[in-house]
């Protein structure tokens, strides 16, 4: 147990772990994380199996990286705790007496003789130090007197507070990892969905996309209502950077899209022989309508694909759910017999490939499409978050103390010496030594001049 503690209490281990953690973290940014085994095989060939085996492809969640973090936390904890009790003793019960010889060995020091009794001198030193805003303790009487003066003692605990903050952040990370959970909830306008692991539901009342004048997206807004037992309790507009919080859950605007199941397409039919002929048809996929022409042609819209691409076996399919290449499959019937069919493209009106349409003297254009919108909310519950913020506050407070709240100490040993009084002053600063030296010199100067 003792050797265990000794191993984890060294700064050497901390330094080693800082280096290993840095190098391991770099490795994780060089190898793309969390991709498929096939992608790694293409990228790294024979090495890919080794990488996956060593968990280099999910490095930050790998057993060994987490173990490193665990060692780091243990090291920080043991290091901080073993140093804490001497520090607390130093803060609460400092040794007031000091040996003049020990003071002479300090870097910041002064020594001289002055007239007056030991008691008077001690009082004068105390006054001068109090005037410089030091907290002063005294001891000794008769021919010897001692003073111990100090300011900003909290500064020595700065590093401990930083370490405590880091440990709380790591604890927060563990809590997040175990108790946190997130899920995506796609919602169409008006649709309601239960929130997993929660006793309430959310409903999307409205989803809008706002644009800048140049057409770039300005904002996505989902008006969301929270319902408990079917009763609305809260309505808020969720935007990127403006999540909705309710009972430990947060709802984020994550994604959006068109609900292609509800699409309506607008198709224009023209005749080559008759420039005046134009029929505007509005149809849903699967629907049909009769073209008001001499032949009473029946028009079907068989399919609609938002992002047309020819997939395997040259079969049409959609590459994504974004309207990047909208296309509709049109069929035409006359007297019950199919006379033409083919795909028309919104972005490529001249590209239509209609089998038999020439003979039927008809041309089609996909002029427009409208589809209902859906919004994807992310529901997240993360019980680790309060710990993270607490840890962050401690880290920042500790850094401020460690760097900008320097602890300064001045000791004095006063002795009777051949009818005069000998003053030995010595000082110690944890930080900002140059400013301390100036202050020390000015205190000594005031004392030398005082009678």
């Amino acid at each position: 147990m003792k050797s265990f503690l000794r191993f984890f209490s060294t700064v050497k281990l901390a330094i080693t772990l800082l280096i290993i953690l840095a190098v391991a973290s770099i490795l994780g940014t060089l190898i793309p994380q969390g991709r498929s085994a096939e992608e790694y095989a293409v990228r790294y060939g024979g090495l890919s199996a080794i990488f996956i085996r060593l968990q280099l492809t999910t490095l930050y969640h790998s057993f060994w990286y987490l173990a490193l973090l665990g060692f780091f936390a243990l090291n920080t904890m043991v290091c901080t705790l073993t140093r804490l009790s001497p520090k607390l003793r130093r803060a609460s019960r400092p040794v007031v007496e000091s040996d003049p010889k020990a003071l002479a060995a300090l870097k910041v020091k002064d020594r001289w003789k002055r007239a007056g009794s030991v008691a008077d001198t001690r009082a004068a030193v105390e006054r001068a130090l109090r005037a410089a805003r030091y907290r002063v303790r005294t001891s000794g009487d008769g021919p010897r007197g001692f003073l111990f003066a100090r300011k900003r003692i909290a500064g020595i605990f700065g590093s401990d507070i930083v370490h405590a903050g880091l440990l709380i952040i790591i604890a927060g990370g563990i809590v997040s990892g175990i108790g946190g959970f997130k899920t995506q909830i796609p919602l169409k306008e008006g649709e309601m969905a239960p929130v997993p692991r929660a006793a309430f539901e959310v409903r999307l009342d409205k989803f809008t996309t706002e644009y800048y004048p140049d057409g770039a997206v300005k904002d996505w807004k989902s008006t969301v209502t929270v319902l408990e037992n079917k009763n609305p309790v809260l309505t808020k507009t969720v935007e990127v950077n403006h999540p909705l919080s309710y009972k430990g859950f947060a709802f984020y605007q994550m994604s959006y899209g068109n609900d292609w199941d509800t699409v309506t397409v607008e198709v224009w039919a023209k005749k080559k022989s008759d420039p005046a002929f134009l029929r505007k048809l509005t149809l849903k996929p699967g629907g049909r309508t009769t073209l008001d022409d001499a032949e009473n042609t029946e028009i079907f819209v068989r399919r609609f694909l938002p992002d047309f691409v020819l997939g395997e076996g040259n079969q049409p399919e959609t590459r994504s759910l974004q309207p990047d290449n909208p296309a509709a499959l049109i069929e035409g019937f006359r007297s019950g017999a199919k006379v033409f069919d083919g795909w028309i493209f919104a972005q490529y009106p001249d590209f239509a490939q209609m089998h038999g349409a020439e003979g039927a003297d008809l041309a089609f254009e996909l002029k427009g499409y409208t589809a209902g919108a859906y919004s994807v909310l992310e529901a997240a519950k993360d019980p680790g978050v309060p710990l993270i913020w607490l840890g962050c506050i401690l880290v920042m407070a500790g850094l401020a103390l460690a760097f900008y709240w320097p602890t300064w100490e001045i000791r004095a040993a006063i002795e009777e010496a051949q009818g005069k009084t000998d003053i030995a002053l010595g000082g110690h600063a944890s930080k900002s030594r140059d400013r301390f030296e100036k202050e020390f010199a000015s205190v000594a100067e005031t004392l030398r001049r005082s009678r």
């Binding site: 700064v11 770099i26 940014t29 993270i388 880290v395 760097f403």
Partner: protein, 271 residues
Amino acid sequence: MTRLIFMEHFMFGASMALYFVAALAYFISPFVKKEKIAKRIAGGAFMNAWAGLLVHTIAIVLRTIESGHAPFTNMYESLSFLAWASALAFVLINLRFSIPRVGPYIMLIVVGLMALASSPLMPKETTPLVPALQSYWLWLHVSVTLIGEAFFAVAFITSIMYIAARDPERREKMDSVSYRAVAVGFPLFTLGGLVFGMVWAEKAWGTYWSWDPKEVWSLITWLVFALYLHTRIRRGWSGKRSAIIAILGFLAALFTYFGVNYLLAGLHSYA
């Protein structure tokens, strides 16, 4: 081009010229034999650096007014802001510790950053903000991080100068200024880069930490400077070994800022 943008480009160029003159004057002053004149030249260089900073500030304010959002949403803007922060870090440290010898190098880095910003490869149009960046955390996160990194830049220069210097007095000064710069940069970087970054990530993405390459590289930078502080304060390292860690730390910060955007894909793909 609107009049404001024209003014902004003019001010940008003017401040770059002022910084350049400051660099030249700082460079010349140690070679002037007469100490009085040399001091006057160094003083003039410092005034030039201040003037450059003032004019540069006006340029950044004009840009903010024109674009209507924080002045660091693309590479041009953020390079300009990093140059501004580096000039600021230099004048502040020079005010406290008087480091005219560091002047030419810092000023040249500032001019270099601005030259890079004004290269034709960097788009300079003001563009409206994408939804993910519409937050006051953009101001807090980026500005505090970049100012922290600017202090790392000062530590970088003084560390190199420590290694290059022969004079023991100057070496001691460079070592101590280097530490002071880290003592300012480290808390700022922790606050802006990591803490504000986590708060914003939690608000925008629903996770305070995603192991995104930029996040990981910020952590690496932080670990390197933590190493600097622990070896220095607890193991008594200083001088060359400290200088090397400070140099590595700044290079990590630079990679976090610059390299990640171009070499590694991730969530931070804005600028």
